[in-house]
């Protein structure tokens, strides 16, 4: 492990977080709120009672899995922006499996629903994966388009053929059998037994990425595909497989949201949660362990921000702080690189005299 690099990263992260909270305080001040009171309400909102703490854990689970799905792709050099669509499709398909098997044993429903979520999420990620590898179409663009397509299809299904019959809900599917709900761990909160499955998945991803030869080969594939190809690795297959697994995980997140918290499908199953997980992965530099730890931190912020509403502060402060952290980290890295390059230039100039420098 590279302690010097990790130390520098941690320092940059800490500074960025502090600065982001300062920017947040500035915005709070301008809009007439007391920053201290608002931040106190944020901490209280995240930890006040068992229900809040449960919600924090549930949201951390969603962020961590989405972030890890993104890590998997980016490790082999494919950027999965389409997790939101994969999540929504996984959610609606697994929900529909549950609705169709109403009254059946949960032990029949869970595997089938999980299979449906994995298949839809995986196949939906397979499309941009294959297009990237075989045709060399940029995956960012295709996944963004596929996100909107998935959201529209889900909206259509929830409004039309699979519409909830007995309620006057505008766009929601029928609810799940109560027997099929994942067991709640804390009454009133969204936390369910899904978190155990999520923990196993997260551990597996971390283990494969950090501790196995496959993980090492993935890294080479992402960093230097030409070298990977010359040393006999199946680069194309690796990219496609990683992208498919990434999509399958997103699909499972959709299932966890439906079976654990929402108990039917509506658009609120995910409010751009994948994009928030993506931000966490970016801040974590696509490192699995950092992604998991930072998910907890951002879940505290997110649930805490809902507590800020009690003192009249809009909860969107959370999004502002999260993105400002990214801006500061990007700016810091860029600034230090420029400084480094400039110093090196000066050093080489003083070493080799003026003649050499004029060429640079």
């Amino acid at each position: 492990m590279n302690w010097k690099r990790n130390g520098r990263y941690l320092l940059s992260l800490l500074i960025s977080v502090l600065l982001a909270f300062l920017v947040g305080a500035l915005i709070l001040g301008i809009t007439g709120h007391s920053p201290l009171k608002a931040y106190a309400a944020m901490i209280e909102g995240a930890f006040r009672n068992a229900r809040n703490r449960g919600d924090v854990l549930e949201y951390a689970m969603v962020l961590a899995l989405c972030g890890l799905a993104c890590d998997l792709g980016s490790r082999v050099g494919i950027f999965n922006v389409g997790g939101e669509g994969q999540l929504l499709l996984g959610a609606i398909m697994s929900c529909q499996v549950g609705v169709a098997l109403q009254g059946q044993s949960p032990w029949l429903v869970y595997p089938l629903a999980a299979l449906a979520a994995i298949l839809t999420g995986g196949i939906y990620a397979l499309i941009p994966g294959v297009l990237k590898v075989k045709v060399k179409v940029n995956e960012v663009i295709t996944t963004i388009m596929l996100n909107t397509i998935a959201a529209s299809v889900c909206q259509y299904l929830a409004k039309g053929p699979w519409k909830n019959a007995n309620k006057n809900m505008v766009a929601a599917t029928s609810g799940l059998d109560v027997r099929h709900w994942f067991g709640g761990l804390i009454p009133g909160s969204n936390l369910s037994t899904a978190i155990f499955a999520a923990a196993i998945i997260a551990f597996l991803i971390w283990y494969v990425m950090q501790k196995t030869t496959t993980g090492f080969e993935m890294k080479i594939t992402g960093q230097n595909p030409r070298f990977a190809r010359f040393s006999g690795m199946k680069v194309d297959r690796k990219i496609i497989v990683c992208m498919t697994i990434s999509g399958a995980i997103c699909g499972l997140v959709g299932m966890f949201r439906v079976y654990g918290a929402v108990h039917l499908f509506r658009a609120g199953v995910s409010k751009d949660y994948y994009f928030e997980g993506l931000m966490v992965a970016m801040i974590a530099r696509y490192q699995p362990l950092a992604t998991i730890l930072l998910s907890l931190f951002f879940a505290v912020l997110k649930i805490g921000a809902q507590g800020m509403e009690l003192v009249g502060v809009p909860n969107q402060m959370y999004l502002i702080i999260q993105t400002v952290i990214i801006f500061f980290m990007a700016a810091q890295a860029g600034f230090l690189d420029l400084l480094h390059a400039r110093l090196q230039k000066r050093r080489s100039r003083s070493k080799s005299g003026k003649g050499a420098a004029s060429h640079v």
Binding site: V137, I141, T142, M145, L278, M279, M282
Partner: protein, 314 residues
């Protein structure tokens, strides 16, 4: 009249075409901005956030000064700042443009919703001074085309001008030539004594300004002085699709935006026959198919030239 003919006649009516023009304009303005960054070799997926901020600050300015043009002025100022900020991170600090683009989109949702709720109390603002609608009497003398083009918001007409200027700028001026070179062959441009970095900066700022205008048209023109949370509604991504579709040609991007506008318009009109959620999908599918086609054609061309040049080049 059969059911099908009835559907057909609702689709191809003056109203549809008018609606098409109206919903295409904000997308088109952003797409022209996106064409600039695309030519400079920056893949800008942050346009959605830029439009959203443009829409909010236009309404805020219009609300504070009780004048739509003050709103446009304010939002252009903010658009300039956003463009400079984007340039600072992506061009100067060389951050990943996807990361910054994603972050700008999320930041814009957070900032505009937060400020909107702080300034207007509720989740949005309605009934602020809007941009004027132009009525040109002579246009009505032209059948179909006249009524379609007439009585549109000011920016619909302004966009035509901007398309023309942007096209001339990109393809007929040295600046446009350098802009394209800064993305395609930055080293060659540097050898010619022109800084590609500078062209990328210019592209970022132009994109910021045009997206701000797109937002201003959306809130002050299209929706007549209204701001609602998240009102850009993925239009930035549609604009992005237009840029890809049009290979960053501003004129073609405008046509692509018209196609998206057309599908939005017929979606609303065909609701009795087919869900608008499904008609909405069509342009996205077309974009993906189109991209595959463009890439495959390019590869085939490259192969053909390689074959023609044969061993000489090897």
């Amino acid at each position: 009249m059969s059911e099908f003919e009835k559907a057909l006649s609702t689709v191809f009516s003056v109203g549809t075409l008018q609606q098409m023009l109206r919903s295409a304009t904000p997308v088109a303005l952003a797409a022209i901005g996106g064409s600039m960054t695309e030519h400079a070799g920056i893949m800008n997926i942050g346009m959605d956030g830029m439009i959203l901020m443009g829409a909010f600050f236009a309404v805020l300015g219009s609300f504070l000064a009780q004048s739509a043009f003050a709103g446009v002025a304010l939002t252009l100022g903010v658009g300039l700042l956003v463009g400079l900020f984007f340039g600072l991170l992506v061009v100067r600090y060389r951050s990943d443009e996807f990361i910054i683009g994603c972050a700008i989109n999320t930041f814009a949702v957070g900032l505009t919703s937060y400020l909107s709720r702080s300034f207007f109390g509720t989740a949005g603002a309605k009934g602020n001074p809007a941009l004027p609608v132009l009525h040109l009497a002579f246009l009505n003398k032209i059948p179909i085309l006249g009524p379609m083009l007439n009585d549109q918001s000011l920016f619909v007409y302004l966009t035509w001008l901007i398309v023309a200027v942007a096209w001339v700028f990109v393809y007929k001026t040295p600046y446009g030539f350098w802009l394209r070179a800064s993305g395609e062959k930055p080293d060659t441009l540097r050898t010619a004594g022109i800084s590609p970095t500078k062209m990328k900066w210019i592209a970022s700022v132009l994109c910021g300004l045009l997206c701000a205008l797109a937002g201003a048209h959306l809130s002050l023109g299209h929706l007549k002085g209204t701001f609602a949370e998240n009102m850009s509604n993925s239009r930035g991504y549609i604009a992005f699709a237009c840029v890809i579709f049009a290979a960053a040609n501003p004129a073609k991007a405008y046509l692509a935006a018209l196609m998206f506008g057309f599908f939005e318009a017929i979606g609303l009109r065909l609701q009795g026959y087919i869900s608008s959620d499904l008609t909405q999908i069509v342009p996205y599918v077309i974009t993906i198919v189109m991209m595959v086609y463009v890439v495959v054609r390019k590869q085939r061309q490259r192969k053909r030239t390689a074959k023609l040049e044969g061993p000489a080049s090897a």
